[in-house]
Symmetry: C3
Subunit: 341 residues, 3 copies
């Protein structure tokens, strides 16, 4: 069961071709995406209403798509406008159409009631497309339920262990106690860690000398359905709290989109300021993220296999689970509210 | 659930070796086939009655087969005639034997009650083995239920889209309205399409000049459990209806045999008259069919995956589905009748 | 359903590294094994009590293991002794610990109630580690339920057919009637076969001349949960029963450990006396066993697939099944007794 009345990221903007058809599954529903001539992106159910063939195996005809099996033609609203061999098309011949918004290079689809689609619910993913922030877009596919990955992002104590040699570098991260605040449709997590080594890849930004020590911070909103918006960074130990001259400032947007009950799309980027470095730094940060996110995926996949082996095995809630437990409750409440409505 | 009291094609005649053992699964039942010395083909349950090992992993001993696990020996009727270490063999020691008929190179097995096996129910697949018709036998395996492939063969409007560049070539095929008649245990479908280009591979038969136009016809019986017997062809536009001098005449036999609930064997050939061309044409027609039938398989497999994703998703019946809806009803009635009996 | 209150072999001794972590699944439960500094082997549940990640993806810290996800640290008894960021560790924070015994190179785990762990129930696998017996340890993985492999080992009539060219060589083995006796927690099977050819690989031991004939014997105990302890061998026909001068004497220990309901670990060795030959003979015997045990695996896997196809298909009990039927009854009784307790 998934929340339906929310925006899920279905793709990076550049993934949808100028011509042709793109398909991806979201919360178990196959979607067809394409760009009509007038601009924007169309999202339709990727399943012909006639015999359920994927429309993405058909072809574009102007701003319509024609099914490649028996030739039904659908317009950009999903209405069947032609059925070969029939003089009139039945009114019921249509496929579902989904509201789409492109915002800062993320392509969002609204999987719930179209009339409820509300752009006020879009997350503020500004750094994905902001000249003041440089990044390379990332995508990973997971063979695990999406909530296990939300769990991971809501408890950064794992940085000390999963990412010991990449993003972490100190057990102090796990020792630190984050502040967790409720915000609209989510949580704000603030974790500050003093006097720790920086991640190795920060060396690409500046020469911090031998054995540098930093005060690091991670401040992020984690909002429904599963989006992390984070400012993080650090400054050399000794620099005053307001002094950003030698600080490393990063902004990251990451979002999890369930593909099915057991698989997930993961879209992410971590941005740096142009002042901190050029293309080479952007690539270094991206590459480090890929390595680290594969560490997460290995661990979460192993966890998921253990859970499949015995779905009844209980977890033991600990203090570090506070944020993830609260977030799972938000998801469950949202799903339950939609079920009642 | 499948019809049992009918003939299913289990193999092309040449697939069963002169010596040795052949195995294939039909409607979920593993079959062992071999040729006894006296001629004909034997079909037994490919599952030893003792510990259920496949007999096809054993060996021939004269006209018997010996299980390769513990050595029980079965005669061509499936009766156990020897059990190592036992002086007498229990009367219950036998495997099921299935009636087999070879007719025009197709090897048919009767999966129902042997006493009801009735050769009058064999389809007239004469062109599979007729000096007046030349062909190359074909076989494909599908990872889809067999009825989805029956559907495909009962609505040739798909030729305009799935086979646009192979068998089709014109949307007029989909526009044409076929005549559908009930026949014994099936349907007759007649579709005539005037003034359309011929399929590309007909060029291998004769030089029809630039941009040739044909009047084409497809007339086929589709009979239980899932066999298509078709005369098709075309004549250059302008030639009188009775004038066959420049016509292309083809005969095709195709049959679908469920392997399991979700997989299918597909046996087929399309024949031409010797007057139309020699070996090269025979090969050209076969190769074109393989390309086209892979187009079908791609589409039907994608359709099947969409159906698996949401088995409750409804299909929308349209005029073009008339034949396939009637045929599915025939199958359902036959299955229900066997259930009651 | 499996017997729990018994010793299962989880590994050969040499498989567990001196440092580091080893994992294997037994009766559906993931196990972590490692060697603490004080000697012996520790077996813990390979599933952190916190979020169910496998502890085997973590790391050793002294005689403890630290989870690689969020850093919980467990001692060799499975008690959580540290949870990062928490001043006190909840009493419930622990993973299951399993009794372990290493005996003659087999590492046994007790999957039932630890207080009931009883070393008197260990099988006498002396030849696995005895200077009077030489062997090479073997391991195979099966994609079949473990009882199907027990069946195989409890009816050696299959040697005549499955191993016709390897271990068998004569239908006389299947013709012979074994004596079956009840013993503590199992059965003793005695099969003697007179005047038959020896297995081909015995030629590696001595020159027996052309067309040698042997009187062969197979005497084994098969005990819960699934362990074969066998003395086998043969002497040239004509040598008196007590005369061992030209005899081939072998001792074999083989044991089946369910991995899951449908997969199995198989540990085995067949030993010869030092007098019979050196390293080369040891290798020859091992290699022949691998070939033969792959013959078994092919057959049993094919059998298992047939059973999956139709789980309701009945087997026909024959005289040769006496031992396996009795053994399956012992297993069922032991499982039922544990269910009631």
């Amino acid at each position: 069961m998934f929340i339906r009345n929310c925006w899920y990221v279905v793709a990076w903007d550049h993934e949808i071709p100028a011509e042709g058809l793109f398909n991806r599954t979201v919360i178990g529903e196959p979607l067809l995406l394409f760009r009509p001539s007038g601009g924007g992106i169309v999202a339709l159910e990727d399943r012909c209403c006639h015999r359920l063939a994927p429309l993405s195996k058909g072809r574009r005809e102007g701003d319509c798509v024609r099914c490649g099996y028996h030739g039904l033609k659908f317009d950009a609203q999903g209405v069947c406008v032609e059925a070969p061999g029939m003089d009139t098309v039945p009114a019921k011949a249509r496929v579902r159409s989904y509201p789409v918004v492109v915002r800062n290079r993320w392509v969002f689809v609204w999987m719930g009631e179209p009339v409820q689609a509300d752009t006020a619910l879009l997350p503020d993913n500004h750094s994905c497309d902001d000249p003041q922030w440089l990044n390379i877009p990332g995508y990973l596919h997971y063979d695990t339920p999406y909530l296990l990955i939300c769990d991971n992002l809501l408890d950064f104590s794992h940085l000390s262990y999963v990412h010991e040699k990449t993003l972490g570098g100190s057990t102090a991260i796990a020792q630190a106690r984050p502040v967790i605040e409720k915000i609209e449709r989510g949580l704000r997590v603030t974790r500050k860690v003093g006097n720790v080594p920086p991640p190795a890849h920060w060396a690409g930004a500046r020469d911090f000398g031998d054995n540098p020590r930093f005060d690091r911070w991670f401040i992020y909103d984690f909002v429904l359905p599963g989006t992390l918006l984070m400012q993080s960074g650090g400054r050399p130990v000794g620099d005053a709290e307001g002094d950003m001259r030698r600080a490393v400032e990063l902004h990251s947007c990451q979002t999890l989109t369930p593909e099915t009950e057991t698989t997930t799309h993961y879209f992410f980027q971590q941005s740096h300021r142009p002042e901190l470095g050029g293309e080479r730094l952007t690539r270094t940060i991206h590459d480090s993220l890929i390595v680290a996110f594969n560490e997460d995926r290995d661990m979460i996949t192993a966890q998921a296999r253990n859970i499949e082996r015995d779905p009844a095995a209980p977890m033991l809630p600990l203090a570090m689970d506070s944020a993830l437990i609260q977030f799972r409750r938000l998801v469950a409440q949202a799903v339950a509210a939609e079920q009642q409505a």
